[in-house]
């Protein structure tokens, strides 16, 4: 690991002030915030991230880790740990997709460490991004190319790709946030702003090194998930190479508002298949106002992957993704709600 200086944040404002004057995109900036460390230290050890100053924001944990359940919705502090939220009884009961997505991520140890804010910002597992002996990686080194396009790309994305990057967004929790139309509260030098969570991640396009809409120095402070008719009828289905402790090959976060089998509203987000946490709006539109059965679910899944582009190693993913979504929709429809 390269040398860096370490300091602890004593209040949010000074942490933001310290990190606000950097020119680079936040994920490449020389000043990095340390929360759970499960992405940052990993990537520092393998020389992908190279901060020269690390600001430990864990001393702020008490203030920014609250889990608040109200009739209006769920507010989650960004420094809450994955395990605390996953096993919170009200989250398990009222927002099952949130609890399930968190429980199915990483391992028990990592979930005790990783914060929610860090979780949504975790970096891709693309092996060409993580292995610096490959010099081609537009995420790591803008303009250098993309080795995955012609390389081993079994785990790579089929939705939201560009000719510059096909790296998969690896997380699970973000899909739950998108399915439930969550907002994210961000603190910065100019104060706090709250934006729809789905606007946080940016498609790679021709700037894959810019992964989010966060400005330098900004910190995610909370997530707000509105209480909705569909929150209870929600689930997260994750299909992967191993039964546990593995990233998704395909996953679906699904939330349904049903009345006598008719879909009033459907919310769908896909994981393991896209460059960002992917909202499948086309599939939602197919379902709205219809009776949800296997045939209709299949039509929705076809719509979700109509724009898929494969790269050889991941040719299996559209069909895996479609089947994952069909199963998730049918399981969600069959849920007994109290």
């Amino acid at each position: 690991m390269r040398p860096f200086s370490y300091e602890r944040a004593h209040d949010l404002a000074s942490a933001i002030r310290a990190a606000s004057h950097q020119a680079d995109a936040p994920l490449h900036a020389p000043i990095q915030f340390l929360a759970g460390g499960t992405t940052l230290l990993d990537l520092m050890k393998i020389d992908v991230m190279r901060p020269d100053r690390v600001i430990d924001i864990n001393p702020l944990e008490k203030t920014f880790s609250e889990i608040t359940v109200t009739p209006m919705g769920l507010r989650l502090g960004a420094l809450a740990r994955m395990s605390a939220v996953a096993h919170h009884p009200a989250v398990e009961r009222e927002y099952p997709v949130v609890s399930q997505a968190l429980k199915l991520g990483a391992s028990a140890q990592l979930r005790n460490m990783a914060s929610l804010g860090g979780n949504v910002l975790q970096r891709t597992r693309c092996s060409y991004f993580r292995d610096t002996s490959w010099h081609e990686c537009n995420k790591r080194d803008p303009g250098s190319g993309c080795a995955a396009l012609q390389g081993l790309n079994r785990k790579h994305a089929i939705l939201g790709t560009s000719e510059h990057c096909i790296a998969t967004y690896p997380g699970d929790f973000a899909q739950a946030l998108i399915a439930l139309d969550a907002a994210v509260e961000i603190a910065g030098a100019k104060g706090n702003r709250e934006v729809p969570f789905r606007t946080l991640h940016k498609l790679p396009g021709d700037t894959p090194h810019i992964e989010t809409s966060l400005a330098t120095g900004e910190i995610i402070v909370s997530f707000h998930i509105p209480a909705g008719a569909y929150a209870r009828r929600s689930l997260y289905l994750k299909v992967r190479d191993r039964e546990s402790y593995e990233f998704a090959s395909a996953s679906a976060a699904v939330a349904l508002d049903l009345a006598d089998g008719v879909v009033r509203e459907a919310r769908i987000a896909l994981g393991g298949v896209a460059t960002i946490p992917w909202r499948a709006v086309e599939a939602e539109d197919v379902l709205k106002g219809t009776m949800l059965d296997e045939v209709r679910a299949r039509v929705a899944a076809e719509a979700a992957f109509a724009g898929a582009r494969t790269f050889g190693g991941n040719d299996f993913k559209p069909e895996l993704g479609r089947r994952t979504l069909v199963r998730a929709l049918l399981e969600a429809a069959a849920l007994e709600i109290r």
Partner: protein, 174 residues
């Protein structure tokens, strides 16, 4: 150990952090490079080599310790970030000089290892798993212990050991 080893990199004094780490109930004063992980602090600076370095990148679980009672990976934890918290390692688990923790005894009773390298991490993780209430069924044990790899594949015996210790731990709590 080589003076140039990154584990004990001797940078200028201004870069070194003066820390007090509480490990197994004892405070230790250390002067550490900011890069030193909790794992390296334990093994290289405090001589507590029970905690093992497997992958050193958060994938194998061999380095599992408890911080304020929570199981975490010491290889992805900066030593500096646990100042003021209570660290427990495999060396601090036994009840006294002559009495092993029920989980340690159960691993021996069930031969829940072969080479033994992953065992301290398995045991620390298993103790936490029982305390979390996530070791109630065999499936739960397999799921919530999935962060601890055993390349000798002693998994069936590890599950058996955890079940024995679970019963003992519940009894002793009453």
């Amino acid at each position: 150990m080589d003076a140039n080893s990154p584990l004990k990199a001797s940078l200028s004094a201004s870069r070194a952090l003066k820390l007090v780490l509480s490990v197994n109930g004892r405070d230790h004063r250390l002067s550490l490079d900011p890069r030193v992980t909790l794992l390296d602090a334990l093994r290289e600076h405090l001589g507590l080599t029970g905690t093992k370095k497997g992958c050193d990148q958060g994938q194998c679980g061999a380095c599992t310790v408890h911080v304020d009672g929570q199981r975490v990976l010491s290889c992805l934890t900066l030593a500096a970030s646990v100042e003021g918290k209570a660290v427990t390692t495999i060396e601090g688990l036994a009840l006294d000089e002559s009495t092993l923790h029920p989980m340690q005894q159960a691993f021996m009773d069930h031969d829940a290892f072969q080479c033994g390298y992953c065992t301290p991490g398995q045991i620390m993780s298993a103790v936490a798993c029982v305390m979390e209430g996530l070791a109630e069924t065999d499936d739960d044990i397999r799921e919530y212990m999935s962060g601890n790899l055993c390349r000798c594949a002693a998994y069936p015996n590890i599950v058996a050991a955890i079940k024995q210790a679970r019963a003992e731990m519940k009894r002793s709590r009453k």
